[in-house]
């Protein structure tokens, strides 16, 4: 039996990988790709949150938002530390990588318009993170990641609850209800895009074969819908999805994927799209990609310049 077949069989039967000496090249590559996406996503969630944190309605809200951002940086730190232990040059990854090569979701390349959007960001996007990383926590074959996710899992739940509180409170204020609906209208499908290409379009998944994760993209999307939709319905927010009794699953009431107008942050439901085009849109990046990555890299670049001048 070759290395790939042996490792796949073992991890499907519960074998936990503890070090590089347990991996074949394909496993190592898939793991590094996964951890890069995770680290980039955690870290690049902070710049959009910062765009509105000074609009916090109370000091307590501001402290909570800052605590959440600190958590996200901590989660990014964990993913990058794991990458370093796998031989990656993390300083280069963080401070020398061009903006368009970062792997954070497209949704994080936008500034937020108001405090309500920060709430929906927590309630929807952190829920997506909680769904994806909760699955990894439950199923991943990589021991060091599984252990690190104890902290992450706990904190992401706190983030999404914070988002729910902001949304629920805003829905009780007639002046803010419309803002909640407006935020949900563009952020709902954005959150669904976190889970990636539909299963039927994927020929194989190294992440699943090597059990880096346990559930498929569509299964994870359904899991997100199974908590996000009932929550939105419970507070009176309209979402373009419902549970279909016949199919025993959540179905969307709008074309998905579909084209998006990034300037007006609006889905063009009359223009259904393909996943190939969605991937192209991801790669073209959103409007704040360069600015947000520059913000992450600014301090390190300035410090490096000072060091050079001092020598």
């Amino acid at each position: 039996m070759d290395q790939a077949a042996l490792l796949k069989e073992k991890v499907q039967n519960g074998f936990i990988v503890e070090g590089i000496e347990d991996m074949n090249e394909e496993y190592l590559t898939a793991l590094k790709q996964t951890l890069t996406i995770v680290g980039d996503t955690e870290l690049l969630s902070v710049p959009p949150l910062l765009t509105v944190y000074d609009q916090a309605p109370t000091l307590n809200s501001k402290i909570t938002a800052l605590a959440i951002m600190q958590d996200e940086i901590g989660h990014a730190h964990i993913a990058y530390r794991l990458l370093k232990d796998l031989g990656e040059d993390v300083d280069r990854l963080l401070y020398e990588r061009e903006a368009h090569r970062w792997k954070n979701p497209y949704a994080f390349d936008f500034e937020l318009s108001n405090w309500i959007e920060l709430g929906v960001f927590n309630a929807f996007f952190d829920r997506a993170g909680y769904t994806l990383l909760g699955d990894a926590f439950e199923h991943t074959s990589y021991g060091p990641w599984k252990r690190a996710l104890v902290k992450v899992d706990k904190e992401e739940l706190f983030h999404l609850r914070n988002g729910e509180i902001i949304m629920r409170t805003a829905m009780q204020d007639p002046n803010l209800r419309e803002e909640v609906q407006k935020a949900v209208d563009w952020m709902f499908l954005m959150a669904l895009e976190f889970f990636g290409v539909e299963d039927r379009l994927k020929s194989r998944s190294a992440q699943l074969e090597y059990r880096l994760k346990g559930r498929s993209n569509d299964e994870l999307r359904q899991k997100w819908l199974s908590t996000a939709v009932p929550f939105c319905e419970s507070i009176g927010v309209k979402v373009p999805a419902h549970y279909d009794e016949e199919q025993q699953k959540y179905v969307l009431d709008v074309p998905f994927p579909c084209k998006f107008d990034p300037v007006n942050k609006k889905w063009l439901f009359d223009q259904p799209d393909t996943w190939d085009n969605v991937i192209k849109r991801f790669k073209q990046r959103g409007p704040k990609n360069k600015e947000f990555v520059a913000r992450i890299q600014k301090g390190a670049k300035e410090l490096e310049q000072l060091r050079k001048e001092a020598v």
Partner: protein
Amino acid sequence: MTAAQQRKTFDIFARVKRGDQLAYIGTVEAENEELAKVYASFTYDEEDWAEMVVVDRSGLVWVRKPKWLFA
């Protein structure tokens, strides 16, 4: 020597409350032990730990390692 080369890896162990196992909770990189203590406290603040310790990874003496699959 660059800043990155001056940093060392520290492993972190902590106990949530008296009587618990001292558990491995993560790692930080730092230039020295004092900074490692600060980074560990701020990064791993998910519990109100009763005890927390940072250990320079190069000081860990392994008695046994896993039986590697492909080594």
